[in-house]
Every structure is written in structure tokens, then in C-alpha cells.
Symmetry: C3
Subunit: 338 residues, 3 copies
């Protein structure tokens, strides 16, 4: 694709040869003459000067730091993403139902949808236009999937799950399994039937091996454009606001509601029955046990140290109670001596 076309597509200012042919994405250090790279993080300025890239997307303030073809953009990473989508468009469905798929006759599959090999679709489902259901997916009864969704492979959707448009779900994700509802009847547990479902808005993306439980009574809900990484666990009756992004290995306990435009970093845990307001950022490996009603950054992750230094700190933690008394005694003594 000629560089000029790419510049037009993203509305960037081109400095260089509009006829340069670009065929691949590359990192600055790995790029060759047919590759396009980008600079979003100034830490990579050193690589920029040496890059052999056919073109680079960069911010106006870095325009003079590269001698080759440049696309000047105020948002180099966003425009990079748009170029990447141009060079690597999402695969299109190959309409039809594979002969090895098992589809209950009461389900309606759009003519333009693709149902891959070894897929099982239950009763009374509705699968929309251009939906792609990859190999090995299992879809239970009464599931509704709106247009242009893509289930890569081996995805499970439980009874009554509803997906908005353009939802992408990666392999191994389990949407709509029973929530963890138990009541202790004297000396043994009894299971509380989970009769809600999972509702997922438009443009959501769900990572590999992520789990989202159905609601106990009402639904578990992801609003539009929620982005979940791999191995995230969302318990029953959680509600996640639009445009919130959650990194890998995060767990959110039951009935908690997360606001819009939140970002939750990896491996954090959020307790049950909390309300987190909009625009909250949780830093990595934090534990959230109380509701948050002010936007901002929150955390409790502890950066690692050399083992011996950390062990000394652990010993000190055990002494703090004693220190409190010693401090108070010293102060009392000081007052007396005054």
C-alpha cells in the first residue's frame, strides 16, 4: 500500500515519498524498507535514529529525529492502531455451517454467519449477521449473538447469554457458568440456583480463559466497549461500566459495580458488594475492599526487594505494635522532663 494512501486514511501529515510501498508492521529496531513503525514512548528515541523503517508515525516534536519517511500525528499510537487495522483487516466470515457442527433446529443462524467445525449450538439461539463462531465453541440454549461478533475458538456461552454487536471472545473463555452461590444448611452446603444470565454490550473484548458468571437472580452485565484481558474472573451480578479495561488475572467478587473508564491493572482483586465510581485506576496486584467514590489512582501492591531486605521488613511489621508503645513512652517521658 502506498504511503500516501496510508497518510490519507489516518489524516496524518506526510513528510517524504508518498509512493513508498508499505506492506508490513514492524518495531523500530526490526523494521526494513517496506515496514512502518511508530514512536509513542520517548524511551525508544534511541532506536528511532537508527531505524531502517520505510516510514515511521511520530509526534510533531519528534519529527526532526528521523531522516526517512514520516507520518506526523498528535496520537502516534492511536494512528498506528488504525494503520495496523488497514494492513491487517479482521478476517471475514466464510458463510455457512460446517458439516461437523451440531446445531439444534430451533436455533436461527444468519445466512452470512460462519459456524466452524465441531461447534455445538443449543436450542432457541439467534446468531446474527456475519458472526464467526470458531472451532470447538459450545453455545447453550437461548443465546443471542448480535451482528459481527467473533468467537475465536473453544468459547463457552451459557444459557441465555446475550452479546451485543462486534464482541470478540478469545479461546477458553467461559461466559455464563453458574455463580458461586451457597448456603450452609447446618452441616453441609446447599447450592443456590443461579437463574440470571450474562449480558455483554457492543464492542466488548473478552480474553482467553476469562470467566464471567451468570447472575444469581438478575444479570451480570458488561456495558459497551469493556475490555477484559486473559484469566479475568467476574463473579455473579457484577456490573462493569462502559469503556473500562481490566488487565490479566484480575478477580472481581460478586455484586460489585465498576464505573466507566476505569482501568484495573494486572492481578488485582476487588471484593464483593462494592461500588467503584467512574475513572478509577487500580494499580497492579492491589486489593480493593472498600467502595471508591472519588476518581483517581488507588493501590496496595508492594514492589519486591532482595529477599533479605524484605525479610527484615517483615520482622519489623511484627514489631510495630511494640514500637507504638515505645514511642508513646518516650513522648510521655519528654513531656515530664519539660
Amino acid at each position: 500500500m502506498p504511503l500516501g494512501e496510508i497518510a490519507d486514511h489516518i489524516g496524518a501529515d506526510l513528510r517524504g515519498d508518498a509512493n513508498t510501498c508499505i506492506s508490513h508492521l514492524a518495531t523500530l529496531s526490526g523494521a526494513g524498507p517496506e515496514d512502518i513503525g511508530f514512536l509513542a514512548n520517548p524511551a525508544y528515541l534511541g532506536q528511532l535514529a537508527k531505524s531502517r523503517a520505510g516510514a515511521v508515525i511520530l509526534a510533531p516534536e519528534h519529527a526532526e529525529r528521523f531522516a526517512g519517511n514520516r507520518l506526523i500525528s498528535r496520537r502516534p499510537y492511536v494512528d498506528w492502531a488504525r494503520v495496523a487495522s488497514l494492513l491487517h483487516p479482521a478476517p471475514q466470515p466464510r458463510p455457512g455451517i460446517d458439516s461437523t457442527a451440531v446445531v439444534q433446529p430451533s436455533s436461527a443462524i444468519a445466512d452470512t454467519a460462519e459456524v466452524g467445525p465441531l461447534v455445538s449450538i443449543g436450542a432457541n439461539c439467534r446468531i446474527g449477521e456475519r458472526v464467526m463462531i470458531g472451532p470447538g465453541c459450545v453455545i447453550d440454549d437461548e443465546v443471542e449473538i448480535a451482528a459481527d461478533c467473533r468467537l475465536i475458538a473453544r468459547v463457552y456461552l451459557g444459557r441465555g447469554t446475550r452479546l451485543g454487536e462486534r464482541v470478540q471472545i478469545h479461546p477458553g473463555a467461559v461466559i455464563g457458568a453458574d455463580g458461586f452461590g451457597l448456603a450452609l444448611d447446618h452441616d453441609h452446603w446447599i447450592k443456590v440456583p443461579q437463574v440470571g444470565a450474562v449480558e455483554i454490550g457492543n464492542d466488548c473484548e473478552i480474553g482467553a480463559n476469562t470467566t464471567i458468571d451468570r447472575g444469581a437472580i438478575e444479570n451480570t452485565v458488561l456495558e459497551d466497549d469493556v475490555r477484559l484481558d486473559n484469566q479475568v474472573q467476574i463473579a455473579h451480578n457484577v456490573r462493569i461500566g462502559a469503556h473500562t479495561a481490566i488487565a490479566g488475572c484480575v478477580g472481581i467478587a460478586g455484586s460489585t459495580s465498576i464505573g466507566r473508564y476505569c482501568m484495573i491493572a494486572g492481578a488485582s482483586g476487588i471484593g464483593g458488594h462494592l461500588r467503584i465510581c467512574d475513572k478509577v485506576v487500580i494499580t497492579a496486584m492491589s486489593t480493593v475492599l472498600e467502595s471508591i467514590d472519588e476518581p483517581g489512582h488507588y493501590g496496595s501492591g508492594i514492589p519486591s526487594r532482595p529477599h533479605l531486605a524484605w525479610k527484615r521488613i517483615l520482622v519489623r511489621l511484627g514489631q510495630l505494635d511494640d514500637w507504638a508503645k515505645r514511642l508513646a513512652r518516650l513522648e510521655k517521658n519528654k513531656q515530664k522532663s519539660e
Copy 2:
């Protein structure tokens, strides 16, 4: 179902109209005239007064807080669970083996069992009465599944796994994969064959994408009525006592034994080769590295704070060693001055 029948079933005292027809479960705030709700947590008393529920299960002390039909119970949540099971009975198997399932001829499947689409069952398995094996499950050789178990979909059971009666396993669970057994032979790892199996007692429930490894030599064991949430990891040769419940994202390292009636909250980690006694509660996101021989609550999770406040605490942690010296110096000085 008439409310009178419901009251009889759970043995609750009915105040109101026994002929009211109840058809659905609902939350207090979402309920309508054909719905039944419950009040277990006094935090929801505010919703109770306004509820339009056709009936509410509640404790004697709250009986006067609701004007409509009431079922008076000393254990509203347990009785709610029982009503829920009445209105939503577990699905019954549709006996037979789907034509797309692959079952090795040496395996014995009870006539009343259901084997769904695209299931693979290895050699020498025994599948009991009324067992349901949902779509996409893979069952290796020599697996025994007792009566009334339910594998929802896409469950894996490794060679020699044994399930007691009424076990439920949710999608994506992997029971009986190899444990993580390695020995460093000078400069490279060699794999230690894992020849034990997994044994699961009656009435256990295993969450979505949970993993339970087979034993290295002897078996990994879950006693009766153990309840595991999603994404729990149980390493080889762990033993979990009856009636213990473990929330999402917990990991338990090899050869640890957990007692009966324990409760382990979300995302906690328990080290290897430990013994945790009966009736231990581990709070959320805690790290257990020593055996516990007294019942009670234990933990080490740190609730998050605003980022700047937390960063200040982290700085202070690094100063504790220095503070210990300063405190001692002050005290020495005080003694001298006395």
C-alpha cells in the same frame, strides 16, 4: 406454584395469602406480584418496605417490616435456596449418547446417562446412572463417574479420575492434568512422571476453568461437599477436607492438606506441604506460608488506599530498619539521662 405449597416445602410460617401464585425468583427491588424475594442482610431493609414482591422470606425479627405475604424463617437464605431449587429444579438428563460423541467400546455408560454432542470418552470408563456429560467434554481412560454427576460442557477429566455422586463441574475445568513435578538434572529439567490420580467425593462442585492436578504418586483428594469457585488451582497431592469452600482465583501448592469446614476467600495463595486444620477462614488475597493448627480467621491482604498515601507507606516500609535503630538510641539516651 401456590405460596402455601412453598411454605409447606420449607416448613416456614406463612403470613398472608396461601393461594398467591409464585412463579419466579427476584431481588426485593426488582420483584413483582408473582415473584418471591428474601431478606437475609439487614442492609436491604430499606428495599424491603418498598418491595412489590408477591412474597418475601424473612427472619422473625423483620416480620413486621413488610406488609405483603411473608414466609417467616430463622434461616432466610437457606430457605431461599430451597425455594429456588423448587422453582428451578436441576435439568434432568435426556438418556442416550449423541451420534457425534466418540465413546471407546470398552467403556460402560449407564442407560439413564446423557452423553452430549462432540464428547470424547476413552477406554474402560464407567459412567453412572443419570450422569449428564455436556457438549465438548473430554474424558480420558479409566475414569469413574458415579450417579447423578453433571459435567456442564468442555470439562476435561484425566486418566483414572474418580467422581463421587452428584458432583457438578463447570465448563473449562481441568481435573487430572499432570502435576508440576520437575527435577533439575545438572543443567536441564527432567519431568517426574505423575502417576497418581484425582479422587473427588460426593456433592462437590468445581468452578469454571478451575484446575486440579493428579497426584505424583498417591492421589489428589477432595472429600465430600467441597466447593470450588472459578479459576482455582489445586496442585498435586493436595487434600481438601469435607465441606470446605474456596473462592475464585485461589491457588494451593502441592501436598498441602486443608481441613474440613474451612473457607478460603478469593485470590489467596497457600504454600506447599502445609497442614491447615478444620474451621480455618483465610481472608481475601492472603498468603499462607505456614501450617495453621488453631481454628480462626487468618490473613495478610492489604486494603488499597489512594495512590499517594500508599506510596508514602511504601517509602516508610523501607525506613523501618533505620527507625528501629533510632528508637533504640532514643531509649538508651533516656535511660542515661535518668
Copy 3:
């Protein structure tokens, strides 16, 4: 197998009857006269004396602590692993493609390979000699699997994944799903296409339900002999050095590189864009947020305590800022009084 043959195989010094017939592995406490056990951890010396094992592998210094047949070894655990592999050789492939597998015709499957029931293999794949692909695996297009790999069951390999020789992958693992690449375009996320792949060296082992994302542009790489336990999450463009072992539930964020011969204990989290050098040990449930350039042990996990003791420490943490001032005031006062 006669004990003499076993001794020869591992090159151990045999004390006892070379004709003793050994047929099974066992723990010291569970062993009978046809079983072989081992002592690697002196904590089990008590069990040794009472063991009824037909033979025991142990170190020279413990040779006199057992009266029965002994195999003397300087590395009892390694030699145990070798005996275990002798008694329990890895299963051999049964060459052929199951009639229920779906293989695109452009893919080349070695004649000695086994493709199990209900497997889906995409286009342009190359499957090497003696590879075993168990039931329910899904392999996307352009995947290359070298000789003697073993995919147990229900494994997903994304487009372009490359496996070295003798790689073992356990059920539910997802290799080559999209990385979590997003750019915020004013008020909504846009997905950054992930066009790299996953490259896995020889002799790696990947645990159940572990996820390894494809690279954004370049590849995510595991060098030779990397060992991952269950539910590990490896983000895009991570590189893991040869012979590194990572325990269950660990998460590694994007673009981080881990050295060779590292060991990362369970449930730890490692941030993105870091460089961890060779021979680093991370202790359990630690959070690594900075690069590490010295071999050694590092950590930040906090061992749990009884709930009340831990709550007091949490209160003290909130007081540290105040204590810093009080300490300084006391010292200032002391100086003045001198």
C-alpha cells in the same frame, strides 16, 4: 523389573537383592514389597525406617538408615525421576487421524503422528513425526509442531504458533490468542491488531489452562526447556529464557524478558517492559515492578497472621507517616537537651 536393571539404568550403587522385582512407584509410607520409594527430604527420615518398600533410592549419608534394598545416589530425586520414567514410559502415539477429526487438506500430518477424536486443524499446518494431538484440540492455520510433541487434550494453538520438539501442553492451555493491545481514541478503545506469533523451544512444558499471547508485532518467545505450571498468564512479547520454571497462577505483563534458570514461585506478578536477569528466584505471591540485574532471591509476599494481629499491623501502617514526624521531634528535642 528386577532391581538390578533399575540400578544399572540410573548408575546407582545397589545394596541388597538385585533380583527383587519392582513394579510400582510409592511414597515411603505407602510402599509395599514390589514398590520403590525415595528419600530426598530429610524431613521424611522418620518414615524411612518404618517403610516396607521393596527398595529405596537415597543419598550415601542416609544409607544406613534403611535396612532393606537400597539404591545409593548422590541425587535421589533426579534418579527417582529417571526410575519413574522407566516404570511409566510416556504413552506412544497410535499413528493415524481419527475419523471425527477435521483437518484442512493443505496441512501436512506426519504418518507417525496421532490426531485424536474431535480435533480441528486449520490450513497450511505441519505436524511432525510421532506428535500426539489429543481429543478436542483446536489448531489454527499455519501452525508448525516439531517431532514428539504431545498436546494432551483441548489445547488451542493460534495462527502461526511454532512448537519445538518434545513440547508437552496440558488441557485448556491457550497459546497464541491476541495480546491485550488497545489504544484510547478520545472516548473509546480501538483494538491494536496483534500480528506476531508464539514461538516455543524444545522440551517446554505448558500447564493446564495456561495462556500465552501472540506478539503484537514480533513474537512472544519461550526458549528451550521452559516449564510453566497451570493458570500462568504470559502476555504479548514476553521472552522467557531457557530452563526457567514458573509455578501456578503467575502473571507476566507485556514485553518483559525473563532470564535463564529463573524460578518464579506461585501467584507472583511481574510488570511489563522489565528485564529480569538469569538465575533470579522470585518468592511466592510477590510483585515485581522493576528490572532485576543481579541473580538472587527477591520477594514481597506477606505471610498471613491471625486476623486480629494482622488488622493491628494494618492500622500501624496508616500511622507510619505520623510516627516519622514524632521520631524526628523526639530526636530534635534530644539534641536540644544535649
